[in-house]
């Protein structure tokens, strides 16, 4: 029996090793490591769909520099060890030109050094500051800076003369990042944090947590999360009678969250990318055309609302394309330098101004203070 096992094993391994297809020089291979299923699927699934849509569109138009694009999507299900395995596989075996993703900060941090060592461009769709601070030559990120979102919130609070706040954040990398920025920046903006709770991203009821905030008599609540549980916090807060304004992060950028929060979502304030209000932007706004097109294409193809999460993958792709065109050749070094030199580049998350020390390129103006009126996103007047 054991011999049989050995033979079967050996045969299998030999077969799989020699099964790799020869790499044709023609198409440009772009890898994507996304959390299409699993705990971060609300990020990875729209991102994967967006990329597939864009690649199809680009290839129909003749590809880039006359070459078709081949997209290889790997589902990491938010597991860092899978991300590591896929990163090495994409770089060494598939020899991809660039990698888009991963969807979460935890995974990105694990493959940051792999991308650097493999000299492959990595355009992450995750938000943590550490991804680009300190700067690694090949690593970029497309979501807005947490710091800018927090500052925007504090500016609004100043207008509303709020000084004592309660902070709720989820126990994920996104929540941790925002919490850290809030705590760091609060003093210089005259804000005091009187209550600070971290909740589980899969919580089904947060009444106990918001009761603690109510007991502290907060003048406003900041709820920093990218998961659906933030909607539950909003509902519970309103249900127990908290009338104070609720601020959210750009992680609220999905109409589904508004739907599950129902009437409680009315009047919440959150800085976010303008994709959510594309239709009501003034005609001459530089982002309007792009946003309206993305929204229309995505919604007609996939029959669901576009979210800002998918937008991060959108930006990653068009940045890459633009950089290839600018560099004039499909060469990693040249394209990398080209990305760093992109200025005034219009994306869904904002207008990108890259530079060697700034591998994110977005600033305070990339977010607009939005609110929810009658169940729809609207710009705060």
């Amino acid at each position: 029996m054991r011999r049989r096992t050995m033979i079967v094993l050996a045969a299998f391994v030999m077969a799989s090793l020699t099964a790799g297809t020869t790499w044709a020089a023609e198409p440009i291979k772009i890898g994507a490591i996304l959390s299409v299923t699993g705990p971060a699927s609300f990020l990875g699934a729209p991102e994967a769909k967006t990329l597939e849509m864009l690649v199809e569109e680009t290839n129909k138009k003749g590809g880039v520099m006359g070459r078709q694009i081949q997209l290889i999507v790997k589902d990491s299900a938010a597991s860092p060890e899978k991300a590591v395995s896929f990163a090495k596989q994409l770089i060494e075996e598939d020899k991809v030109f660039a990698i888009i993703g991963p969807s979460t900060s935890g995974e990105t941090m694990k493959i940051k050094s792999i991308a650097e060592e493999g000299k492959t461009i990595l355009l992450s769709c995750a938000a943590a500051e550490e991804i680009v601070v300190p700067v690694a030559k090949y690593v970029f990120k497309t979501p807005q800076k947490d710091r800018d979102v927090v500052i925007r919130i504090f500016q609004e609070m100043k207008k509303m003369k709020i000084t004592k706040i309660g902070v709720l954040s989820s126990n994920t990398g996104f929540g941790k990042g925002g919490k850290g920025q809030i705590e760091a920046l609060a003093p210089q903006h005259g804000i005091t944090i009187v209550a600070n709770e971290v909740y589980d991203k899969a919580a089904s009821d947060l009444t106990a947590e918001v009761t603690k905030l109510k007991a502290a008599n907060v003048e406003a609540i900041v709820n920093w999360s990218i998961e659906p549980a933030q909607a539950i916090a909003i509902k519970n807060a309103r249900q127990i009678g908290i009338k104070a304004p609720i601020f959210l992060s750009h992680g609220f950028g999905n109409i589904k969250y508004v739907e599950i929060a129902g009437a409680a979502a009315e009047g919440v304030l959150f800085p976010a990318g303008r994709l959510l209000v594309a239709d009501v932007l003034p005609k001459n706004h530089p982002q309007k055309a792009l946003l309206v097109k993305y929204k229309k294409d995505y919604e007609s193809k996939y029959k669901e609302d576009a979210s800002t999460f998918g937008g991060h993958a959108y930006d990653a792709f068009i940045i890459l394309l633009k950089a290839i065109e600018k560099a004039g050749k499909v060469d990693k070094e040249a394209v990398r330098t080209a990305i760093e030199s992109l200025k005034g580049f219009v994306g869904t998350a904002g207008i990108f101004n890259f530079s060697p020390p700034d591998h994110n390129g977005l600033g305070l103006d990339s977010v607009e203070m939005l609110t929810v009126t009658k169940g729809k996103f609207a710009i705060l007047k």
Binding site: R2, T5, P80, Q89, M109, G118, N171, T172, G175
Partner: protein, 358 residues
């Protein structure tokens, strides 16, 4: 050489053959997934010992993997520079337990030496395994399964909820685990081949250890306990003690796998402690044949390798769920067992289904 070591030699030969094949086809990148698979296999053979030979299910073994991985990751990345002045730290430093290095971004770090961290992690694992195993192994059936499941969930929740363990992001920038002669267990592509042999060498050592254990007095005692615990007790075998020791042994295998894989990957995340991982390990042991070390090892090699290459796509978890169902329904003793062909013949000829094993 004794007959029982023949498969070991054959397996070692297979490992070398695979590496040479990748060398000559220029596809050395396969070694990455194969090395990661080796570490998971270390956990799985330990688990097979527990489930198959000692007859104790564990639905929380990923917890031990995480304990090892997280402890070593934490100790080797926690910067103690700020504590340089304190007496305890300088004592450790003089004992050679600390190591200074430059972090990837130019700062200077003072961390615990990986060997010391490894020892600490394993000691902690042993302590926890004894503490938890004692009461848990007194339970039976559903209660035992749920207690182990609960243990796994507690570890998952602790690593997910604790700030200094990285919360949802886990711990990154874990340094390599230095071996002798300038080699280390790390993910650098230049060290691929040595790492591959180191990992599989460790697995083979583990297998030899377990095979010897099975053929020893302890192993025979375990088999008798598994078969009929009361009868075993009647002939003077301290069943509880043997079960507990097997539990701790399998925990150490899991923890060691966690430690070394964390150094290889350069980090660890909470997903390594999740329930799905524990279920996956049990599925692999089940499909290989509960009491079949070689079966578990070969299934681990195949399934983990495919999973790490993304072969199952978005159906990764589904595959293991389906495997569990199919194996439990049709082949509860695993696939690669002695009477496989005769059973298949019987199945297809429509005669009555055979007796079910324990």
């Amino acid at each position: 050489m004794r007959a029982r070591y023949l498969p070991v030699a054959a397996f070692a030969g297979l490992i070398v053959a695979i590496q040479l094949a990748t060398h000559f086809t220029g596809s050395a990148y396969h070694l990455t997934q194969l090395t990661m698979t080796a570490y998971y296999s270390l956990l799985i053979v330990g688990l097979c010992m527990l489930i198959g030979y000692a007859g104790q299910i564990s639905l929380g073994h990923a917890g031990f993997f995480a304990i090892g991985g997280y402890l070593s990751a934490f100790l080797t990345t926690r910067n103690l520079s700020s504590f340089k002045g304190s007496g305890f730290i300088s004592l450790l430093s003089k004992a050679g337990l600390l190591v200074g290095r430059a972090d990837p971004y130019g700062g200077s770090l003072l961390n615990v030496h990986p060997w010391c961290a490894c020892v600490v992690a394993i000691v902690v694992t042993v302590v926890i395994a004894y503490l938890v195993g004692g009461p848990v192994l007194k339970l039976r059936g559903h209660y035992l399964a749920m207690a182990t499941l609960g243990f796994g969930v507690i570890i998952y929740r602790i690593v997910l909820g604790t700030e200094f363990l990285g919360a949802a992001d886990g711990i990154s920038d874990v340094p390599g685990f230095p071996l002798l002669a300038g080699l280390e267990i790390a993910g650098k592509s230049s060290l691929r081949v040595p790492n591959y042999y180191a990992a599989w060498g460790l697995v083979i050592l583990g297998m030899v250890f377990l095979i010897n254990l099975i053929h020893s007095r302890v192993g025979r005692a375990l088999i008798s306990i598994h078969g009929a615990e009361d009868a075993a007790g009647a002939v003077g075998i301290p069943a509880a003690r043997y079960k507990l020791n097997t539990f701790v042994l399998s925990a150490v295998f899991a923890s060691l796998a966690g430690i070394l894989l964390t150094h290889y990957n350069g980090g660890i995340g909470p997903s390594e402690a999740s329930v799905m991982k524990s279920v996956r390990y049990v599925a692999i042991v089940a499909v290989g044949g509960m009491a079949n070390l070689w079966g578990a090892l070969s299934m681990s090699l195949v399934l983990n390798y495919l999973s790490l290459r993304g072969y199952f796509g978005t159906f990764d978890d589904t595959v293991f769920g389906v495997i569990l169902i199919l194996i439990m329904l049709f082949a509860p003793d695993g696939l690669l067992r002695r009477h496989l062909f005769s059973d298949l013949r019987r199945f297809f000829s429509g005669s009555a289904a055979g007796e079910e094993g324990p």
